[in-house]
Symmetry: C2
Subunit: 444 residues, 2 copies
């Protein structure tokens, strides 16, 4: 262990050492706090962090371990939590001054699940305003002149800067996959309804997903495994068996996976260096990847995503609108205004079309492909902090609720990471991670 | 058995006699066909009836019985099916010339369930245009100058005229409870999602319910028991245990039920003679009934029902609109036009409010009341055939998906039936019928 700061360990490795008595949670948390001291001024990933409270949780974890009590899979592991996810012991301000000082009484379902697994909730990470586009203060750890992406800006950046091995985010359009790609970490948005959203700022029941950030697929699997479950507060969750993420990830695929390369109608927006990188990747994969055109029925998906998101946001943020529309950003206000005027028939038509497109993709997956390969974003993180970048390569998969993962497998000309997005079949989340590991191994 | 035409028997009694070999399905069906010959010219309940096809089904039922094979609870019993419910062996025209000659390839889920229980599908009963307001040809069997109510006009009238002991209908606003009340039969609209709607003209996923007509509570229970089930084509159904309607109905309530008399904001529309009848009923029930005011949150329920119905109809009838808007009635066109212009935020706000109002009623039921007693309609069937009457006393319960039953317990000054509506707690359907039997016994 000598030489390597515990903060640089993977969550799985740190959890193993804690379990075996080779590392204490206090040491791990202290190491994470040191990383934060060293890099927070540059990265600005955190909106709330009480070092003493974190140390207290770590000591409690170490005492529990010492007492011989049974411990969970994340025992003593610090996790960063996006500040739209309620915590009973820390403020949750949803990235808007309208919720300044808001202190929820209850943990979100996912926070309860993390605590039950033994995690230390290290602090709250920066979100854009109401998890929409208007940026927070966070910068890209690879180059602070560039955006970290959003809306889960702080979670992606904190994991990338090794301030914390794991973090939670959320995605309603591209808010997990895009910042993961821009910050060069692994990001995972499981199937819609797999992870309960109770106690999380609701933008859109149809589109909101909880997501996860880590620096390896193993860690994503470890984290995701703790979060699956039914919660009566989230009508889109279902009672279901635990998903054996780690077990499936540890398996070899029975046959070499076949990938469908889908450029989407937005390919022309992709930067030249990213296009080259994808071309090389295609060549490296040889006969294991084929180009597939989107079905005609998918062409309207982006418009469908827009009307659903605008409409549901307009209703779900109505209290904020009434209380202080002027304190919302112009971007968000404009979106809500459009949502308030949208026609119900258009909205409902969009909702009713989703299952039909999902069926088409089901056919694609059943007939030939293990996963879809597509960009996570149009390229590396754009320069400047006034925008969090373009979510267009995520909207379709979010709309359909398909599981997606971003892998930091390539780099642009500027040296910044480029994310490769893999998309899987609905409810085949563990298998998607297994395919992702195969892909990463293939390119290593 | 001498003297009584089999068509006049209850379904339960006829089924018993068939099971015991005292009556054949052929005799029963022939008796129903005789009733139809005698009264159809006056009542006009049927839009499709092939006597030979009905006789063939009856003969097949009798042969199966004779072979010693196991038979179902409705073996040999004729049932009328509203003409918005698909049948693979008869046209289903949905009450619109746009669907003239339409012959579905598959039975609706409920028709399959009836056939599995041994029923004879006697024919298709008249519906208003697309199960909305524009009347069909049916008249009230008690007085052909009066409306039978709608939209399940033919089913209610056919059961009232003893053309068939059982019939299926549907309700999106008041289309089962109102015609049952006007025709003086029992009508039952179970909890939303209890009976699958696959293969039935869809107006509104949120509001559409399958309903049942019979001349006794026993028969309603017998019919409803065959129809409960999960169907993957109806996303609002759930896998669940069979509901023991007949067993629960046969029990005595453990304590005398307590009823909540809710006048609703539309009480002023109730006819003077109906008001008197309800006053007498209240007096007869003494301390077993209390007046309860609607919660303030329910006041907007009628507007919510309107926007949900208009919006969902506009989308669900889009093919008809495109194909031949001019062939739709002016009433339906106007409604669709409004639905096409409705705002998504208003629609969604209405949808999101439903569970909160349901919760309030849950409290009411848990704290004190076994059922709500309220009018089924503003009075007896109105004179004239140009309207099917006022559904205002049904809209709230349809919106909330609560189970409702109409009981033909009173009469107006003109001698026509007045329906008493009992409304129960969601998913407590069998208990509602038990309370209804207690009420009927109390007033007998």
């Amino acid at each position: 262990m000598a030489g390597e700061a515990p903060a640089l360990l993977s969550a799985a490795e740190a959890a193993r050492r804690i379990r075996e008595g080779l590392l204490s949670s206090a040491e791990l948390v202290e190491s994470c706090l040191e990383q934060i001291s060293a890099f927070e001024e540059k990265v600005q990933a955190w909106v709330f962090l009480d070092a003493e409270h974190a140390r207290k949780q770590a000591r409690a974890a170490d005492e529990k371990k010492a007492s011989g009590e049974a411990i969970g899979p994340l025992h003593g592991i610090p996790v960063g939590v996006k500040d739209i996810i309620d915590t009973s012991d820390m403020p949750t301000e949803n990235g808007t001054v309208l919720h300044k000082g808001r202190t929820p009484r209850r943990d979100a379902a996912v926070v309860s699940m993390l605590r039950a697994a033994g995690a230390v909730i290290l602090g709250k990470t920066v979100t854009t305003e109401c998890a929409y586009f208007h940026p927070g203060k966070t910068r890209n750890p690879h180059n602070p002149a560039h955006t970290p992406g959003g809306s889960s800006s702080g979670s992606a950046a904190a994991v990338a800067a090794a301030m914390v091995p794991l973090a939670l985010g959320s995605q309603t359009n591209g808010s997990v996959i895009r910042p993961a790609a821009f910050c060069g970490v692994y990001g995972f948005k499981p199937t819609h309804g797999l992870i309960p959203r109770t106690g999380i700022l609701r933008l859109s029941r149809t589109l909101d997903h909880v997501g996860a950030f880590a620096r390896s697929l193993d860690d994503l699997a470890l984290l995701a495994e703790q979060l699956v479950g039914w919660d009566e507060g989230d009508p889109d969750t279902r009672p279901r068996a635990r998903v054996p993420f780690r077990e499936v990830l540890a398996e070899e695929p029975p046959v070499p996976p076949m990938l469908a390369f889908i450029r989407t109608p937005h390919w022309e927006r992709v930067d030249a260096d990213a296009k080259d990188a994808f071309k090389e990747l295609q060549e490296a994969l040889g006969d294991r990847i084929e180009e597939v055109d989107l079905f005609p029925s998918s062409a309207s998906a982006w418009d469908m995503h827009t009307i659903i998101m605008e409409t549901e946001m307009a209703v779900n943020l109505e209290a904020e609108w009434t209380k202080g529309a002027k304190k919302l950003s112009a971007t968000l206000r404009a979106r809500i205004e459009r949502g308030r005027e949208a026609r119900a028939a258009d909205y409902l038509r969009a909702l009713q079309t989703i299952p039909r497109i999902v069926d088409s993709f089901d056919d694609l997956f059943m007939q030939r492909y293990d996963a879809i390969l597509t960009p996570a974003a149009p390229g590396t993180a754009p320069k400047g902090l006034e925008s969090t970048g373009d979510p267009a390569f995520c909207s379709l998969w979010t709309l359909l609720g398909l599981p997606a993962v971003s892998l930091p497998l390539m780099r642009g000309e500027n040296g910044l990471p480029i994310g490769v997005q893999l998309v899987g079949r609905r409810n085949f989340d563990a298998r998607l991670l297994r395919t992702a590991r195969w892909l990463a191994g293939k390119l290593a």
